[in-house]
């Protein structure tokens, strides 16, 4: 889960990472009250999970509570790159002398945590990495050892930070690391980290991504998640235990395992079609899960055909067939479903489907054959050719 700025900062504050004083507001009156409470010049910041909100007009300074109300009114409801602003963060405005970059993330290839710091902050770090890679200091922290002071020094001296900011940065880095670890984060990114006029080092922005697998040991994550809007269809799918993502095409995809579903998307594309979604029923799905998956997909009016691709491991073919038969029985299915079933108990499953014929049900033996059939049934090939990349 990617946290909103205000959520990330609230969590970082618990680990004594210096962040500006601020309050979240979801309407202009709350914004005015927040500015009143802070009693100083404030910054009103759109809470959206997308870059470039400053340029889009999503960050404004207000000198008074009244002005805070006005700018909040402007910002709330704005659309920033497809994200609607539902909340603003009202923060005490500070005197910013310099902007830096600081982050910790999980480095899969090294199986360690990677800390990165740059004296060039406030811009996209990818841009710095491209244009001036030496400006980014890196340090790997071994998870079993944890952070030691030298890691912080290596970042701060390596990034050639202004000596005035050294002490503050060296003090902050271990705190940010501890937040990263104890929040079960996969990323904490402070951009910009700022040196203020009075010599303090403060996290002016915060991007925190937490590991959903660790939800069970963070009772507060549920509350944080509630602030995130999820498309209705995805929410429904999630409730039913399905891993669902909406896409732009017209061929509904159901499969077991993320890899197989991605491969299914690819073969559908190669056959000239476009997937309407990604839907992974996961491992060991039973009849009810399959039935629910069909229900979720058929509820989408854009879908013209469904390709159901199952290779059973823990998932049993007989239960898959049971789920399909159940869905066809209880739903008024009017779009064709192409079924390709292999693996554990697949033979039993194929026999069950053959024994329960339905006008909308089409069996295919191979993945490629099934993809072509689904594309045909959806009304033929669209614009797409074979996927890019050098061919064998």
């Amino acid at each position: 889960m990617d946290l909103f700025e205000y959520q990330g900062k609230e969590l970082l504050r618990r680990f004594e990472v210096p962040v500006p004083e601020g309050r979240v507001a979801s309407n202009p009156a709350e914004a005015a009250a927040a500015a009143e409470g802070l009693g100083s010049k404030v910054v009103v910041k759109a809470q959206v999970q997308v870059g470039g909100r400053g340029k889009a007009g999503g960050i404004k300074v207000a000198e008074s509570a009244g002005e805070a109300r006005e700018v909040a009114e402007q910002i709330l409801g704005m659309d920033i790159k497809g994200h609607t602003v539902k909340r603003v963060l009202v923060e005490r405005a500070g005197d910013i002398k310099e902007e830096y970059y600081l982050s910790f993330l999980v480095d899969r290839s090294e199986r360690k945590f990677l800390g990165m710091m740059s004296a060039e902050g406030g811009v996209e770090i990818e841009q710095v990495a491209d244009e001036n890679p030496d400006a980014i200091a890196r340090v790997h922290v071994d998870p079993s050892l944890g952070i030691s002071d030298f890691h912080a020094r290596k970042l701060v001296f390596g990034a050639k930070l202004n000596p005035a900011a050294r002490k503050g940065a060296i003090a902050m880095i271990p705190k940010l690391y501890r937040a990263f670890v104890e929040l079960d984060a996969s990323l904490v990114e402070i951009n910009p980290l700022v040196l203020t006029g009075d010599g303090k080092v403060v996290a002016l922005d915060a991007k925190v991504t937490v590991d959903d697998s660790a939800d069970y040991r963070h009772p507060n994550f549920g509350e944080l998640r509630a602030a995130h809007e999820v498309p209705e269809q995805e929410r429904l799918a999630k409730e039913k235990g399905l891993n669902f993502i909406k896409l732009d095409g017209d061929i509904g995809i159901i499969g077991n395992g993320a890899g197989l579903v991605m491969a299914t998307l690819d073969v559908v594309k190669a056959a000239g079609g476009d997937a309407a979604n990604f839907l992974d029923v996961g491992g060991g799905a039973g009849a009810d899960v399959l039935s629910n998956a069909i229900e979720v997909i058929t509820s989408d009016d854009n879908v013209k055909s469904i390709f159901l691709n199952i290779f059973g491991g823990i998932t049993r073919g007989d239960l898959v067939a049971e789920g399909i038969i159940d869905a066809l029985g209880r739903l008024d299915v009017t779009i064709p479903i192409v079924v390709r079933l292999d693996g554990t108990n697949a033979e039993e499953g194929r026999k069950m489907l053959a024994d329960a014929p339905h006008a909308m049900l089409h069996a295919e033996d191979t993945m490629l054959g099934a993809a072509k059939r689904a594309v045909d049934l959806a009304g033929g090939a669209g614009s797409a050719g074979p996927p890019g990349g050098g061919g064998a």
Binding site: R108, S186, S213, A214, M262, D266, D280, G283, G312, P387
Partner: protein
């Protein structure tokens, strides 16, 4: 020969008394895997269809000489179970459990692989081989099956298979077996952020394995494991490699179920991975069926 599991495997299942652990453990046993013990704290002294249960892995090892563990315990306890197996002297630890927090795995995997310095990513320094978590396990057809890979689709033979995706293991094995291309070992390494073994670890084992003549690697979008594997293959691999990458049409930035399957910048796309592999002399199939065709072609050439 085969790699990771074979006829010398003596298996202990951590979590054998649980529903899934029992089902798959006994299924592995039925396949011929030498299942010698189960571990469930507090249930020591009981048994699961004749397989003795111990309170700790240390006791299981001491009584049964188990050398391989399959971890089937719930996510909050899984990293501890892995560390317990390692502490007890187990050499091969295969973790099926899905949903283990990355922090737990970072700590356990980092510890067991050893801290090393440069190059630590390229070879396991530690005593034990870790596979998984969130993986379907390892099967060496005709010898041993440790995990949930459906053995019915497998045949013994000269092809090594290594895959980040579980169901794609089944699909590719199916395609291979249909062309009478048997497998030495099929390894699911899982798609979690902190994997116990990566492509390079497994490729280097296949490279040294007498039975394996050709390796199929199955990657997917996200991370740079495939790109690093490509570099390694170019410098080290003495056997032909055929690859498949899933996710050419996955939209950038969308999560596809695996935490690792997030496209990050230009690297990490299926396109970039396929190109890197092809530049290293690897044939890359566009779909699972084509992969099997390329294997036939590579063996003919």
């Amino acid at each position: 020969m085969a790699i990771i599991v074979d006829a010398t495997t003596k298996l202990v299942v951590q979590g054998l008394t649980g529903r899934e652990g029992r089902f798959h453990g006994l299924r592995n046993k039925a396949y011929g895997t030498d299942l010698v013990a189960g571990v469930t704290p507090g249930k020591g002294g009981s048994d699961v269809e004749g397989v003795p249960i111990f309170d700790t892995v240390a006791e299981a090892v001491s009584d049964t000489r188990a050398n391989t563990s399959m971890v089937f315990v719930p996510p909050p306890f899984a990293a501890d179970a892995i560390l317990e197996a390692y502490d007890a002297g187990i050499d091969t630890i295969i973790t099926i459990t899905e949903g283990i927090p990355a922090m737990d795995m970072a700590r356990a995997v980092g510890y067991i692989r050893g801290q090393g310095g440069a190059g630590s990513a390229e070879a396991q320094n530690g005593r034990a081989t870790l596979i998984g978590p969130n993986c379907p396990g390892v099967i060496s057809p005709g010898k041993a099956n440790v995990g949930i890979i459906p053995s019915e689709v497998c045949e013994a033979g000269p092809i090594g298979l290594v895959s980040r995706s579980g169901t794609l293991v089944y699909q590719i094995v199916h395609e291979l077996s249909q062309k009478n291309l048997g497998q030495s070992t099929c390894v699911g390494i899982g798609g979690d952020p902190i994997p116990g073994s990566d492509f390079i670890d497994v490729l280097s084992k296949f490279n040294a394995d007498g039975q394996t003549e050709l390796v199929v690697m199955v990657g997917e979008i996200g991370g740079d494991d495939e790109e690093r594997a490509a570099e390694w293959i170019e410098d080290n691999m003495t056997k032909p490699v055929v690859a498949y990458i899933a996710g050419f049409t996955a939209p950038p930035g969308k999560r596809m179920g695996h935490a690792g399957a997030i496209i990050s910048g230009s690297r990490g796309t299926a396109q970039a991975k396929a190109e890197a592999l092809e530049a290293a002399g690897v044939r890359v199939g566009r779909n699972p069926t084509e992969v099997a065709e390329l294997v036939v072609e590579a063996r003919g050439s």
